[in-house]
């Protein structure tokens, strides 16, 4: 690992100022939450910052706070805390489940929500330092290579999948992200936070070099809301999702009032499937409808040579997820 200067800001404003100054001086700065992703990137020389800004030195960036009907979660809250938090487990199950299914116990103890949604892709070509688009190069090695774990939707020019487990859950729950920058705070809906490679192949989200994700805000959970996160992986621990789904259904009198279905592991961003959502809305749910919803969710998938198996896997995941959310009789 190349050495760097360690910076311990005491406030978000100070941290933003550090980033801004670094940028003005042509220096590279990296933010560290828990560091579980960043340290790997540093060790493999995929990032070589001059400064590492330790967000843990800022107080008040962690914890789950109720504010009226909404819930605010500091970006430094660990995945372990989110997975166990009674309010989240009860009212925002998709998020608690996603956090609890991410990585390993050790990583959930240090890994933060901010780091989870901002983690870099885990495409093996990228992580092994191939000169691919994500590493500033001119090709995506997955296109003609080992693409078992790559995108079915939204690919090109890079075919990475977004690795975060919490991101599909947050999009399904209509969370908002509070971002701090030089001109203060702004609120970005989770759905608008993530961007496709065709918009900017070097980034996975809209966050600027001098901005920090400060907080995630969950809207009020109506009484009929039920949500879940299902994750399919090779191994029961530390594996990223092969396919996953964050699903949130709102029920009223036995009918689905509103549906949000967001796939993980299939696209460079959490992938919302509005056509499948619309099939559910206004209906009561049974096995036949669940199958139609699953078909609609995967319609238009464009598998590469070796990831076609994800299509039936994702369909089964969608079907299981929606059926698990049937309203209590």
């Amino acid at each position: 690992m190349k050495s760097f200067v360690n910076v311990n800001p005491k406030s978000l404003d100070e941290a933003v100022a550090v980033l801004d100054r670094a940028r003005a001086q042509g220096k590279k700065a990296a933010l560290a939450g828990g560091g579980s992703d960043l340290l790997g990137m540093l060790k493999d020389h995929l990032v070589q910052p001059d400064l590492v800004v330790n967000l843990k030195s800022i107080s008040g960036l962690e914890g789950v706070h109720r504010e009226g009907e909404r819930v605010r979660i500091g970006a430094l809250t660990t995945l372990d805390e989110i997975a166990r938090h009674p309010l989240l487990v009860e009212r925002y199950a998709a998020l608690a489940q996603a956090a609890g299914l991410a990585a390993s116990p050790q990583i959930r103890n240090v890994g933060t929500l901010g780091g989870n949604v901002n983690q870099r892709p885990w495409c093996h070509y990228f992580r092994q330092g191939f000169p691919c688009f994500k590493n500033g190069g001119k090709m995506c090695y997955a296109v003609a290579g080992e693409n078992q774990f790559h995108a079915l939707f939204g690919g090109g020019p890079a075919f990475i999948v977004h690795p975060s487990d919490t991101a599909p859950a947050l999009v399904a729950l209509e969370a908002e992200f509070k971002v701090m920058g030089p001109s203060g705070a702004k609120i970005i809906p989770a759905e608008k936070y993530f961007i496709l490679p065709r918009e900017d192949v070097l980034r996975e989200n809209v966050l600027g070099e001098n901005e920090i994700l400060a907080e995630v805000i969950l809207p009020a959970a109506p009484s009929g809301l039920r949500s879940t996160y299902l994750k399919i992986r090779d191994r029961q621990a530390w594996d990223h999702a092969i396919v996953s789904i964050g699903a949130a259904l709102e029920w009223e009198g036995g009918r689905c009032r509103k549906a949000r279905l967001v796939l993980g592991g299939v696209a460079p961003i959490p992938w919302r499937v509005p056509n499948a959502e619309r099939l559910l809305e206004g209906k009561s749910l049974g096995e036949a409808l669940a199958r139609q919803v699953a078909e609609a969710a995967l319609a238009g998938a464009q598998p590469l040579a070796k990831n076609g198996y994800k299509v039936p896997l994702a369909k089964a995941t969608v079907r299981r997820a929606v059926l698990s959310l049937l309203p209590a009789a």
């Binding site: 690992m1 190349k2 050495s3 760097f4 200067v5 360690n6 560290a32 828990g34 560091g35 579980s36 340290l39 790997g40 540093l42 060790k43 590492v52 330790n54 843990k56 372990d80 990585a103 390993s104 116990p105 050790q106 990583i107 103890n109 240090v110 029961q236 621990a237 530390w238």
Partner: protein, 169 residues
């Protein structure tokens, strides 16, 4: 440029000078000579480097030493007490849960974190708690059995916490 910090390791205060890019694993092994904590994959996959940081099991290879100022760290060297081995260690020996031994320190620390929080875990809870620790030798069954054995031992009245260890909360 090195950074001075004060860390409590196995109950003793240590003043360390570390490079900004050194990990907690580097500091434990190279600065303090505590080589019981193993260096395996160095990227969070294997769990051989697991220690308790403020009571929680973490991969010390993924924590910057510079960010541990004031923290309390427990390594395998701090698990046995003055009275002898910890019941977990006894159980690992008794059950034959150790072959090459490389994963053992990490396994014990993950198990210790579990038992402190949940003294009577189920088989599934033990497997879940150890899911971030790889063992290439034993096939896990004996490790899980050892933790279950130790969970019973820790309920025996008069079983004390080893020296220097404080409850995690």
């Amino acid at each position: 440029m090195s950074i001075s910090l004060c860390v409590i390791v196995n109950g003793n205060e240590h003043h360390l000078d570390v490079a900004p890019h050194h990990t907690l694993l580097d500091a434990l092994r190279e600065e303090l000579g505590l080589t019981g904590t193993k260096r395996g994959c160095e990227v969070g996959d294997c769990g051989a480097c697991t220690v308790l940081l403020n009571g929680k099991a973490v991969n010390s290879c993924l924590v910057l030493a510079a960010e541990t100022e004031g923290a309390e760290v427990v390594t395998i060297e701090g698990v046995a007490g003055r009275e002898g081995l910890h019941p977990l260690q006894e159980a690992f020996i008794r059950e034959g849960a150790v072959q090459c031994g490389f994963c053992t320190p990490g396994m014990i620390l993950s198990a210790l974190a579990l038992l402190r929080e949940n003294p009577r875990p189920s088989d599934a809870e033990v497997r879940q708690a150890l899911s971030g620790n790889l063992c290439r030798c034993t096939g896990y069954a004996k490790i899980v059995q050892a933790v279950l054995d130790a969970s019973d031992a820790s309920l025996v009245p008069g079983f004390g916490r080893p020296e220097g260890l404080r409850p995690s909360r």
